[in-house]
Symmetry: none
Subunit: 224 residues, 4 copies
């Protein structure tokens, strides 16, 4: 038993070794700028070994993207299920997680963006593209979570009701996702003016929050 276990463990370790090697390279240079040679060298393994563990450069990439999005999803789930359970509380948890993810895992963020850039042919049900379908599932799932939060907030009267939940969700999604895209130029401006990123982000989130909350509480409810 132990022997099989050890083998299995070693196998998994190798996989992770390769994945993390590839990860760091992809993080730094992006999909196209990384070669399988580099990955192999970085993992201190032969090129053949890489292909033994992963069918493809693409497959390896997709797995890493999947890891990133799984991590993100998990962070979201945990954040929402813990702490303040008020409507606005859950929204704040979500916002915080988005910021945290983008700060702690900018590499994953970048790869996820590359994945979604249209660079890859995703929708041919070739086979063994399980990773792809899973990635898409997580993406959809997270949209649904946001929608759910907003729907409840509207029902409870905590959130503005002059927009449909879906529409509001989309708008908020755009706004939230956009902090993740730390446009480099914005970074420059920040340092140039001596503004702390934290402060800015807090202000940003407050404003987004003000957008989501009912601005016209007296306005009669809309039907859509």
């Amino acid at each position: 038993m132990t022997i099989a276990d050890r083998k299995e463990r070693e196998r998994e370790e190798r996989r992770m070794q390769i994945i993390s090697s590839a990860e760091s390279l992809f993080f730094q240079n992006g999909y196209d700028q990384v070669s399988m040679d580099q990955i192999a060298r970085n993992a201190e393994l032969s090129k053949g070994t890489i292909f033994f563990y992963f069918k493809n450069k693409e497959a390896l990439f997709f797995i890493i993207v999947l890891q990133g999005i799984r991590l993100f999803h998990q962070m979201v789930i945990e954040a929402i299920n813990s702490g303040d359970m008020s409507d606005i509380g859950r929204f704040r948890s979500l916002s915080t997680v988005v910021v945290r993810f983008s700060r702690e895992y900018p590499g994953y963020l970048s790869l996820i963006r590359q994945f979604k850039s249209g660079r890859f042919t995703i929708y041919n049900s070739d086979s063994e593209k399980d990773e792809v379908t899973e990635i898409i599932w997580y993406t959809d799932e997270m949209t649904r979570i946001l929608e759910e939060i907003i729907r409840k907030g509207i029902q409870n009267g905590s959130f503005r009701s002059d927009l449909s939940p879906v529409e509001l969700a989309i708008i908020i999604k755009i706004m939230l996702y956009s902090i993740m895209d730390k446009h480099p130029e914005i970074q420059w401006t920040l340092t140039e003016h001596g503004i702390k990123e934290d402060v800015l982000i807090n202000h940003y989130l407050e404003l987004v929050e003000s957008v989501i909350c009912s601005p016209y509480p007296n306005k009669e409810k809309q039907v859509y």
Copy 2:
């Protein structure tokens, strides 16, 4: 004279011919997925000629990006200097231009994003990277324009004053730019729920506008 003129004119025509050929290809497939061969074929010129006019694939790419950003800048300038000159009016003009650019020139948008993605080594003053410095200049310039609008709006009391102009400018910039990134997933959600993009964008801009305008006019002025 006329002979030299004609030559000069022809040279310029060739340049534009190459650029527009490369443009359409880059627009569709992205930097890495386009080969110099394709560009040459598309331009109905030989590969050698491409390299005669442009030192590099990168150089050619940078010029196209520069074109895009110049165009954007020009659109911004024109919009701001014409029409309604009130604070909110100028802001609306700017918003409109952002939307218009992202709708009319999605290709440029995509290339600009690629340029800023860290994919290219921009900051080594290797040599004639004049295009790069110009691109950066325009980027900065457009931030400055937004800052200026906001600063005036705050001074006039039209815009909220609980944030420094710079900070508010950055926040608005993030929000405005983010609408340009039509994350494909958002597109899906839209079509899935039968929401018209135009409608959503108008709502989005209204909300951004509400963010910029003084929400608490009675609040005593902040000092920063």
Copy 3:
């Protein structure tokens, strides 16, 4: 004893398991288009095991070819030793066997042809190429059998005597073997004209038979 026997039996079973797995793959795709990986997977064994039982991909291939040629030889022996024992009868048996083999075991046929195609280095007495020498032996043996039939037929006056037995044997061999080569183009022609393969083959064999039989019985005997 029984333990050793079982082991021995199991070993032999494994061998056959591997061989038949490889066979079916080689039959379908040919030597170069089959990988050891595929063979292992098809045999539900590990690649290492394949190499434990067979030194080489080549060795495995040669053994299969040898099997094929042994089978062919056995069919020939059986056919000739049973049934009509007249000269022409034995020849007909042989013809029938050739056709039958090519129809029932096209895979072996194809591999035998690949073996003889010059693709492999057969004649360096490198080492344990016992299979190769055996294959060659069987090939020669079967030529000898045909020669013997013809020699007797000539002696008995049933076959034409204007050619030396060896020469006639070679000629007949060429003609007989050639019917095994189902040139695809011939297949097309057949179906195109609605000719049944059986019918054609029967006519073919009749003609070959007419070649072997004395056409000019009155002609004075030739000396060679």
Copy 4:
């Protein structure tokens, strides 16, 4: 003019240089055993150049096969249109050509056989598989030529009429083509018994000829 001509000539020379390099390698080792690297080295050119002139290894191979079959076809045409124009005369010319081709160009013969071996996917009208269609055309054409000869011979009463022209053509085709396959074992047998190849082949052709000619001139005509 001369300059363009020279370029064109040089281009053609390079092409031929590559083709003949590849040819000799393919002749010796067969398609799978030859690498593009070898071809390049043999041609004293870089690998890139080979791919500049030929899209593929396959494409290069097909062109060589086509050359071979064109050569064969031309030899057939010339042979049939010159010399003795009697039915049997034309048939003899054809036989002679077949023998001559197999003797003078055994390499082409081998490649043609490899081409027809099912190793290549020939029937997907991918595109630019012009060579393939041409090869097939020539193959068909040569079958048609033989059929025509036989049909006329039957009409004139020179050839046996108990078989349909098509069937007889197929049979003769099989017999003729089979001399081209110099099974190595036959070579051994020949040298072993001190038989000259020429003599054997002449006898062989005589026998094939006797097959084609009416054996039973008195037999009433068959209808098919």
